[in-house]
């Protein structure tokens, strides 16, 4: 019961045939061998599978692959060219914003998506002024990154890293 699907993943084009039950995450990992997106819960509860789909952050375990035919998917591995690191990557590395590293690609993608949302002045539940520009305070970063669990407990360093990346990319 296969269906044809076209995806662009980290700049590479793929045409593949998938089961209608296949999630976007399983299409990446089991069909395309793209392992940067991680499976932590398969229920959209931990954020380890976060990727950018057409620029927006998304839990790829909650998306059926066939509903994203033609989409452009970016994983943490696609945020910088081969042999280089992005501003976010470098901040995570320098500030030790991870330990085991399993949630990290999801954190990085989530942060990339979140920085774009903040740049668009999209408010969060802790934003005081719903109409004005978003200032990425530590409280804002904590709130906006709370969909990505880290059991190693690297949160204080994740906030510092996202904060630094936000300043550098301003």
């Amino acid at each position: 019961m296969g269906h044809s699907l076209h995806l662009t993943v980290d700049g590479q084009e793929h045409t593949l045939v998938v089961d209608s039950r296949t999630t976007l995450l399983d299409a990446l990992r089991d069909r395309l061998g793209v392992m940067s997106a991680k499976k932590g819960c398969d229920h959209g509860q931990c954020g380890a599978c976060t990727v950018l789909v057409d620029g927006r952050r998304l839990n790829s375990c909650l998306a059926l692959a066939l509903t994203h035919d033609g989409a452009e998917v970016t994983t943490a591995d696609g945020l910088a060219p081969e042999g280089e690191l992005s501003t976010l990557h470098r901040a995570f590395l320098a500030l030790d914003a991870f330990q085991c590293g399993y949630c990290t690609p999801g954190q990085v993608c989530s942060a990339a998506g979140m920085l774009a949302e903040a740049a668009d002045d999209a408010p969060s539940v802790v934003t005081e002024d719903l109409e004005g520009p978003v200032e990425l305070s530590e409280e804002e970063i904590r709130e906006r990154m709370s969909g990505n669990l880290c059991r190693c407990g690297a949160y204080v360093n994740i906030v510092a890293a996202v904060s630094r990346a936000a300043e550098e990319s301003r």
Partner: protein, 690 residues
Amino acid sequence: MSDLLTTTSVGTHQVRLDGPDKVRGRAPYAYEHPLTDPLYLYPLQAEIARGRAAHIDASAAEAAEGVVYVLTADNAPELASTDDGELAILRSAEIGFRGQYLGAVIATTPEQARHAAELVDITYDQDDHDVELREDHPAAREPESGSGDVRTGDVDTALAEAAVSIDERYSTPMEHNNPMEPHTTVARWDGDSLTLWTSTQGVHPARSTLAPVLGVEQEKIRIISPHVGGGFGSKGLPHADMMLTALAAQAVPGRPVKYAVTRQQMFSITGYRAPTLQHIRLGARADGTLTAFAYDAISMSSQTKEFPEESTKPGRMMYAGDNRRLTQRVVPLDVPVPSWMRAPGEAPGMVGLEIAMDELAVAAGLDPIELRVRNDPTTDPDTGLPFNQRRLVDCLREGADRFGWEKRNPQPRTRQENGWFIGMGVASATYPAGRQPGSVARIRRTPEGFEVSIGAADLGTGTWTVLSQTAADALGVPIGQVDLRIGDTALPNATVAGGSTGLASWSTAIVSAAQELRSEHGADPAIGAEAQGEAEANPAAEKFALHSFGAHFAEVRIQPTTGEIRLDRMFGMFSAGQIVNPSTARSQLIGGMTMGVGMALHEKGELDPRFGHVVNHDLAEYHVPVNADITDIEADWLDEKDPHAGPLGARGVGEIGIVGAAAAIANAAFNATGVRVRDLPIFGDAFLPT
């Protein structure tokens, strides 16, 4: 006292060597090694807590699209040993807990395997089960694998005669490790050889545990695990998922079979911290010095395999008192098998003990730090040995200064801001400084530098980095000349990454190998020259009680109308010997404290007495701290080297960060509100009027 290594790289900040790959998601975890033509496994699990799987009809599953094989007790290979009740799976129809493996489906795609597993029809003979832990349970008994009771003097008389005393009961719940990477095994048989790509805290210990159960010589099994997505103890001992995958793969020789345990399955398969009940009685003179110390504890265990969560462990060595009694019992129930979770014994034990000490301080009218200072023993109350470095008091005093403890009002319910009550609490931390014998390192001179091989594990602990730093200093070369290899049984034997023993054990082997290389091949060995070194048991363990210590300080705010509790800030001061890499050590300590916040405020597995399963078996309902829960946590350490810990003078820091953290928060909550919470986790209803 051993000779301490001269350090250049050790003790300095070093960015994680595995970091560039990890931030991009390129470091391969167990599921992610590129393998040809894999098959996918989905398990069959018992839906009753006790009884038998009387009949399993797999015909519909076998006929389903993509299904290659269905494994059950009816066709499972014989096991060579059934001594380990957890690993001896599929040997009969008997069911010992809900969620127990009854078989597995292997199919061409994961979707097909999962669908076919639903088609397997299992008929049960159900017996009554018992999954409820209680203090007066008739099945309570001394554990077979425990540390034994302590009885010194006359506790009852001393309690009766004490000027101040407390007599309280404490409890800690079922807690689940929940590493972010689910336990995963990929198994492939090639003839009579088995390769496992798995997620484990010790490739060699896992192999030596599995080999006798499978009836395969150790040399025929290779285990590969270069990167581990967290473990916190749950990947320390191999669990049944590894066995299930290895057995199922026998049916499809030459093909890799992949099984990632689902988050829900982890709650019944991969171990958890057993709940504990703690009855603590303390008696003291008017000046607060202890005269009586009684600690009677019970933990839940499993009928399938015993695991004692010995919460009495830290009580044996923490404080003095002439009259002592410590008893540890287990109640084996029809529940999944408990196992290691970060600081087993110490973490739950220091909840009851450190809240009890806070209560005694109130009863004696003393500052809780002063009470601990007055009861700081000069020798280990358990063994009578002197301590290696017992710097608990230094941690308490230095931590108090750094945290601003002098601003604390000892009178509860006196500090209020914007309608929130604010309070501060303190608790001690401790963990044994262990070193395991038997790790071997091999060093070989290469054109580029030195290849250093040892089967160690990095589960986020920083092993890739700190062992490279250690090897650089042991060889007297820059870190760039070290090419470290870990996480593979093809490398020399390494002991488990557990009990905070990894660093001390593996680094001793590496330093020894470097010395051997130098003595066998001179200061500038020829390319290709190699030598091995082995870590022996720490001789200091016979002369000293070896422990790390620390002190946690917490400030919480509690909204009296809603009961909401928030952690404002937390500081931990530790004595852990030489810190090899300040970046990764700080991360581990803060990480332990963060898990301690979960222990204090969030985590509780809700075991349903009717069905015997954890109802909240996922990350939406079993709450762990999220980013918004953690505002300000900092950790620091005393500048020291432990002359009795090995050549680095370093003790591990994987566990001590969680020990005492929850008690500091509970004690802060008392200081804020005057409400004493003795049962974790602390939920808001504790602070609402009854």
